[in-house]
């Protein structure tokens, strides 16, 4: 694995893709080390804020040395990022986290499930899976008809959509959509809010699939040193010896069977 770095990146472009959701392209050599499901820590310029903001890599281009970040304006930091125009420089820390275990998809029927602001990292994943000609079904959950990134997902395989208000696709959540369409799979990759991930884990059990879940937690260091970002695991792990894995380094993607969520 490549060495982690704190490095200065440059904004190539940025635009609004949904209400309060930004799509930012960064030029940075860190792109060379990126894999789907990994993330970067983005620093604000406002010196009142000192901690990096963890943002998943939506897509990466190793040749162009670009990272695409899609994020929701959720507070002071992301509000600041949203103001950046082309050419703005920004400090980032990366590449962080383990990413999705793509090798598990080999010759398997794959299901990719995303919800809310958990959708973005799955785009890079789906594109990667498509490159390998994997049999992929994607199920993405949104609040309403504002289904950001969905047209790009459509290019990667079969896409199902669930919306809370029923305006597009299945009315309900992603699991409702899976059931409604009787989706089957050997391997599931998922990212989204915790209740959704719990749903995915039990759906995986139902259909006999392996599930890999990308988790979220408040972070400080992002590199495994502070033990701020742990999640509970079923077994004593190698690092903590107390059934706490670090989401920033042991994750963010975990085998659902290992988790106690």
């Amino acid at each position: 694995m490549a060495k982690k770095k704190k490095i200065c990146a440059k904004v190539v472009s940025q635009r609004v893709i949904s209400e309060g959701v930004m799509d930012m392209l960064l030029k940075t050599s860190l792109a060379e080390d990126a894999n789907p499901g990994q993330f970067v820590g983005v620093y604000t310029k406002d010196k009142a804020n000192l901690l990096p903001r963890p943002i998943s890599i939506c897509e990466f281009d190793k040749d162009d040395q670009t990272l695409r970040l899609v994020y929701r304006i959720a507070g002071k930091g992301t509000a600041e990022f949203a103001l950046y125009g082309t050419g703005e420089v920004v400090d980032i820390l990366g590449i962080l986290g383990n990413g999705f275990p793509l090798d598990k998809a080999k010759d398997k029927k794959v299901l990719v499930i995303g919800g809310g602001i958990g959708v973005p990292p799955l785009l890079g994943l789906s594109k990667e899976l498509k490159k390998e000609n994997t049999d992929v079904t994607m199920v993405m959950g949104y609040r309403n008809a504002d289904t950001f990134l969905s047209s790009e997902f459509e290019n990667c395989g079969k896409l199902l959509i669930a919306t809370e208000d029923g305006s597009v696709g299945t009315k309900g959540n992603v699991i409702d959509a899976c059931r409604e369409n009787g989706v089957k799979a050997d391997v599931i990759y998922a990212c989204g809010p915790m209740p959704m991930l719990r749903g995915v884990a039990s759906y995986a059990k139902e259909i006999g699939a392996k599930a890999y879940l990308s988790l979220e937690e408040r972070m400080a260091c992002g590199v495994g040193a502070c033990l701020g970002c742990i999640c509970k695991t079923k077994n004593t792990d190698e690092h903590s010896h107390v059934k706490n894995a670090r989401i920033c380094t042991d994750g963010p993607v975990f085998d659902a069977d290992d988790l106690d969520i």
Partner: protein, 300 residues
Amino acid sequence: MNTKINIAGVEFKNPVMTASGTFGSGMEYSEFVDLNRLGAVVTKGVSNVPWPGNETPRVAEVYGGMLNAIGLQNPGIDVMCKRDLPFLADFDTKVIVNVCGKSISDYVEVVDRLADEKGVHMLEINVSCPNVKEGGIAFGQNPDALFEITKEIKKHARQPIIMKLSPNVTSIAEMAKAAEAAGSDAISLINTITGMKIDIYRRKFAIANKTGGMSGPAIKPVAVRMVYEASHAVKIPVIGMGGISNAEDAIEFIMAGATGVAVGAMNFHNPYATVEVVEGIEKFMKEQGIEDINDIIGCV
């Protein structure tokens, strides 16, 4: 130009250390900095048995700093001896193990276990963690309790000990004196200041533990004041910390009376901070014509 300092007979190549709990066991940040450049690596607090720590969220950001309530999660002294100490032994730096416990006997067990570890140069005794219910801070907020635990640990420790003091007290001078009177070889301060953050939209505490320990640049003036007061109250060396982000900050602590300094939460902001402080101190000394770092300790 001399940057070497000596604390209780242990020589450090420079005064710059890592603050316990902010640098793991050194492994995580060895991707960013050359540990050989540091005066010492101070490890995360370790107890006799593995501790699971607190519920999440364990960290929250505040203006110019952060709150944490990790709750001293650690894999226990056995894992530290098997995994972390051998890793650190490969570097040309001093190793200080930070020790935590719930009762005096917990602490003593760890101290005894480390007695024969050649690679451990000093022990830092954490009696000031505000994030665990029992033990810890109870010793750190009462001079008599501090005296007692220090005395007991001194009986067992083969390495020189550093009592790490809590800022959550009325008189830091009194605490420093109690540690000195009981035979502590040095003191370090400050640990975090107890703070709280509330998410007003969700009407919830930002930290599951309700309160967390505050660290980062926001606490620096309090830390400098306490280092000044403590170092003027005792003769044993003081290791200063609290919000150090760069060499200027480190020198401020040294001028206030600290022999050593530690970089904590700012590692999270700038993973290169420790080595930048080392280099910045050298640059400052050169520019200001300071021959020996020891000449400016407490010079204000």
